[in-house]
Amino acid sequence: MADTMQFDLVSPERRLVSGLARAVQIPGADGDMVAMPDHAPAVTTLRPGVLSVEMDGATQEFVVTGGFAQISPEGTSVLAEEALPKSEVTADFIDERLTKAQAAHEAAEGDAVDTAAKRVSDLQALKDAL
């Protein structure tokens, strides 16, 4: 079994990481999951949360606000809507998105209410975790 897999973290504006990783912890919409080499092919959407990558013997952490991940046995690509190294994330950054999500929650109707509520609580959890 291969020890490492190709890992890419890209946001619309740039490529943040590209290299061989041992494991990637992904904040999936339905819960965290860890992708390792030879993982069964899967696609999952992301919730706002922390993504951690184990590569070159060190762990790097990134904050993502949404997007999706494509996992295949050979590698994992995470396409994040917004992604920043955890150290660069400020409370203002989260607050800004939290306010927006709360506004969207209040404006939402029907099925959208649950989705919006989930986003608010995910962001809140992310804020507490930092």
């Binding site: 890419d8 490529r15 339905d30 092919p41 696609v43």
Partner: protein, 291 residues
């Protein structure tokens, strides 16, 4: 014949124009490099996104539960044309060529009896479309304060489009922008964004069966609006690069023309100066002979 002073003034004014166009060309060249870099940086995301979407779309596409963004509303009566243009002029035929294809498309749709709505992004396109299609303009996204196009800008345009779609304002949406081929060639392009179309990747790797979490339909519903934003983002970046490219070559031309003009005027100036001297000499000689 214009007198010498006028000619001198004229030459000086053309010289300062040349300085300005030269400076603009250099600024455009620098901005072009940056615009190209951002377009380059955005490419991996867009490519992967499209690959995943194509796969998802092909697995969900045919079922009845497919989201409207993908399958369409069922009609094609009302068309929304999103025209992306520059906020500034002085970039050759850049804005006009985008507006031209948008106008052609609008005229064709109107002739077929369809309803046309136009959403403009960028001041210049709006100004040109207002002349002929002022009744069809439904909205405008202002990006004049934006120095560097970010994903957030694309999202705001996408939001504008999606709220209208959700309200049932239109059936089909197309974007008009200019694709960047090289500094000297930009191709005005028309692309349909709703119902969404995805180019299926050439190497058919559809044999991999992916696990979807949550299920396909839900992921698709979540990703489609992002797909629209991504497509608009790509278009905006292409447009930004094209604009700078077009401006660069337009300013290069202008600089060269100014140089030619200075040469011509200088020759004229020297000729007139010599004619004046010759005249004076003749007058002096004939004056001396008369004595």
């Amino acid at each position: 014949m214009p007198n010498l002073k006028d000619l001198k003034n004229r030459i000086n004014s053309v010289k300062s124009t040349r300085k300005i166009t030269q400076a603009m060309q250099m600024v455009a060249a620098a901005k072009l490099r940056r615009a190209e870099e951002s377009a380059e940086a955005a490419r991996p995301y867009a490519e992967r996104f499209n690959a995943v979407m194509a796969e998802l779309a092909s697995s969900v596409g045919d079922s009845d539960s497919a989201p409207k963004l993908l399958s369409g509303t069922g009609g094609d009566q009302t068309h929304l044309l999103v025209v992306l243009s520059a906020e500034r002029g002085l970039c050759g035929g850049f804005n006009s060529s985008i507006v031209k294809i948008a106008k052609a498309a609008a005229t064709k749709l109107l002739a077929e009896g369809k309803t046309v709505k136009i959403l403009t992004v960028g001041k210049k396109g709006r100004e040109q479309l207002r002349r002929d299609f002022s009744d069809h303009l439904v909205g405008h996204v202002d990006l004049s304060d934006v120095k560097r196009i970010g994903y957030a800008n694309a999202q705001s345009v996408a939001e504008e489009v999606l709220t209208r779609f959700d309200a049932g304002d239109f059936d089909v949406a197309k974007i008009f922008y200019s694709e960047f081929e090289s500094i000297i060639s930009q191709k005005p392009t028309e692309k349909q964004i709703i119902p969404a179309t995805f180019e299926t990747p050439e190497d058919d790797v559809a044999s991999t069966v992916y696990d979807y979490e949550p299920d396909e339909t839900e992921i698709l519903a979540d990703l489609l609006p992002r797909g629209i934003a991504t497509q608009i983002f790509t278009a905006l970046l292409e447009n930004a690069a094209s604009e700078q490219g077009a401006r660069m070559s337009a300013m290069d031309n202008a600089t060269r023309n100014a140089g030619d003009m200075i040469d011509r005027l200088t020759i004229q100036y020297n000729r007139s100066r010599q004619a004046v001297i010759t005249n004076e000499l003749i007058e002096i000689i004939s004056g001396a002979e008369a004595l």
